[in-house]
């Protein structure tokens, strides 16, 4: 079973929920994938050393200057302006390249080959005998995160439970992270910002055709608007995590949230059972 933990707005508690799920579900073979590769934070919730680091690359074109006649066809073929032909050389802009391979295919002289361009690393951390954390970490200055997210998700694909900590927003990176999941937990907060961004992320999850439910974090009292949105969207409210300044403070200080707020364990377990039930 693969559960994505997502939210439109940043800072609503995605990582808190994803890491707590990983801590509570101790009976299964579990992998937690931190797919927020721009700013991965799940590892901070566990003080475990990284046991393996893999470099992730994507393909970019490489021009053989001895063969190239500067005909300009590669530049015409490229939709992303990643190749510019000058009189005596071809400039390649790796950061614009989408690795589609069209330039290689259409070069009349086979003077273009492909070479690996590093975009980030994947760190593997053992959390317990049964649980592993996979963290994707994007290289500074790299604009394209989806290939790294895809690579991180492809590891340990057979684990019984897979939890994906997704990047905020609703762009292609979020879609890549949520894609292929059996269920999507959308974490929100009861503020106008939270509401607005939740509506957008509901649209994205619906586009993927994945069932999901809402978790209201920092819940205080009223959540009428969220309840209405839940009814309209068909995404039930699975849990309300009460606002607690003590929890916020403890979480910021790196203390164990499950200890600071003991009822959190029950809430998290209950969320998992509801997901299990929906999927069975």
């Amino acid at each position: 079973m693969q559960i994505a933990v997502a939210s439109g707005k940043g800072g609503t508690g995605k990582t808190l929920l994803a890491t707590c799920l990983a801590k509570v579900l101790t009976n299964q073979q579990l992998v937690l994938v931190d797919a927020d590769v721009e700013e991965p934070n799940a590892a901070l919730a566990f003080s475990q050393p990284v046991r393996k680091t893999i470099t992730v690359t994507r393909l970019v074109p490489k021009i053989d200057p001895d063969k190239c006649t500067f005909c300009g066809i590669c530049g015409e073929v490229c939709q992303f302006n990643a190749l510019v032909t000058l009189q005596d050389r071809v400039l390649v802009f790796n950061e614009l390249c989408h690795s589609c391979g069209a330039c290689v295919f259409f070069c009349p002289l086979t003077s273009i080959s492909e070479t690996d361009h590093p975009i980030g690393v994947i760190e593997e951390t053992g959390l317990s005998e049964k649980a592993t954390l996979i963290t994707g970490r994007l290289v500074m200055g790299e604009a394209q995160s989806p290939p790294l997210i895809k690579a991180a998700k492809s590891l340990q694909a057979k684990a019984e439970v897979r939890i994906i900590d997704c990047p905020p927003g609703t762009t292609c990176a979020m879609i890549e992270a949520v894609k292929g999941s059996d269920y999507c937990l959308l974490v929100t907060e009861p503020t106008p910002f939270g509401m607005h961004d939740l509506e957008l992320s509901l649209e994205a999850v619906k586009m993927l055709g994945i069932p999901g439910g809402l978790i209201i974090n920092r819940w205080q009292a009223e959540d009428n608007e969220l309840a209405v949105l839940s009814l309209k969207s068909g995404f039930p409210i699975l849990a309300r995590i009460p606002f607690s300044l003590e929890l916020a403070q403890a979480y910021m200080q790196g203390q164990e949230p499950l200890q600071t707020m003991p009822e959190l364990r029950e809430i998290i377990t209950d969320i998992y059972h509801q997901v299990e039930e929906t999927l069975s």
């Binding site: 439109g8 994007l138 762009t171 292609c172 910002f193 994205a204 910021m252």
Partner: protein, 287 residues
């Protein structure tokens, strides 16, 4: 003309509440929201739109079923698994590279501009201008949309002889953030005193350094964790980054946001944020 950009790396540190507040304190400036896929600044500034423009990030392939001979060349060459076994284009997977259209032996595939969202020009307060956008869920190229919003804002600033642009940035360090930083004079780093807040701050700061941009730090909700707050202060001092201010956790700010109001409209918050704004202005004079 100068441009100030508010970013944080981590989401939820209070960027938008503070950006809106400083826009309010600044008065005569153009406001921008570069968080194009989850734009929240308009919720506080409540602009009235005067211009709506369609945005197309690129192209999408379309297969004409009647001319298609099901040879499969398109699917074999597509690296994005965007062509289904029955030769339909999967729009969410298609990156618009056009490889399929060029390789199709019977010209059954054509490329069409895809509608990826909109950007808007609006008026708020007493005739101030703001720019923001709305990227459709699942679309890529948010950086390109950010660039369009930025170009429109800079053009208007030049025409109106407005000397200041204040922009709310997106979270992360990816394409939208990289695009947000173009031509920016000063980045205000809004952080919170947590391990993740600090970790993300360091990453986004490295990105700024790659681009040679100056920054100034605000530690928001400082009192929730003075220990890491102190660590962030030391880190800023070591890196020669000025501290604009330390803002305590405030239920007043939370209440303003709950009511979709700009926090700095409240006199108490205004008083608290005023010296922070003075520090930012001073730093801007120095760059």
């Amino acid at each position: 003309m100068k441009e100030i950009l508010f970013i944080s790396g981590k989401g939820g540190t209070g960027k938008t509440s503070l950006t809106a507040s400083f826009i309010h304190l600044a008065g005569n400036c153009i406001a921008c929201d570069y968080d194009v896929d989850a734009s929240n600044l308009p919720i506080l500034l409540k602009p009235e739109n005067v211009l709506t423009c369609a945005f197309s990030a690129g192209y999408g392939a379309r297969i004409d079923g009647e001319s298609c001979v099901s040879c499969g060349l398109c699917a074999v060459n597509c690296r994005f698994e965007a062509i289904s076994p029955d030769f339909q284009v999967i729009p969410l997977a298609c990156e618009g590279c056009g490889f399929c259209a060029k390789v199709c032996p019977v010209q059954a595939i054509s490329m069409h501009p895809r509608s990826s969202g909109h950007w808007f020009q609006g008026r708020f307060a007493e005739g101030q201008t703001m720019f923001y956008a709305d990227l459709r869920p699942g679309e890529e190229n948010s950086g390109k949309l950010v660039a369009q919003v930025k170009t429109a804002a800079r053009k208007t600033a030049a025409i109106d002889q407005c000397s200041l642009i204040i922009a709310d940035g997106p979270p992360g360090i990816g394409c939208a953030v990289i695009s947000s930083m173009v031509e920016v004079d000063l980045v205000v780093l809004v952080t919170e005193p947590s391990r993740s807040g600090f970790h993300d701050l360091e990453r986004v700061y490295q990105l700024m350094q790659l681009r040679g941009i100056k920054g100034i730090v605000i530690i928001n909700k400082y009192d929730l964790n003075p220990v890491i707050g102190r660590e962030i202060e030391d880190w800023a001092a070591e890196n020669g980054i000025a501290l604009a201010g330390k803002i305590p956790f405030s239920t007043l700010i939370a209440e303003s946001i709950a009511e979709a109001q700009i926090p700095a409209v409240h006199p108490e918050i205004r008083e608290m944020l005023f010296p922070v704004w003075e520090n930012i202005k001073e730093q801007l004079r120095l760059v």
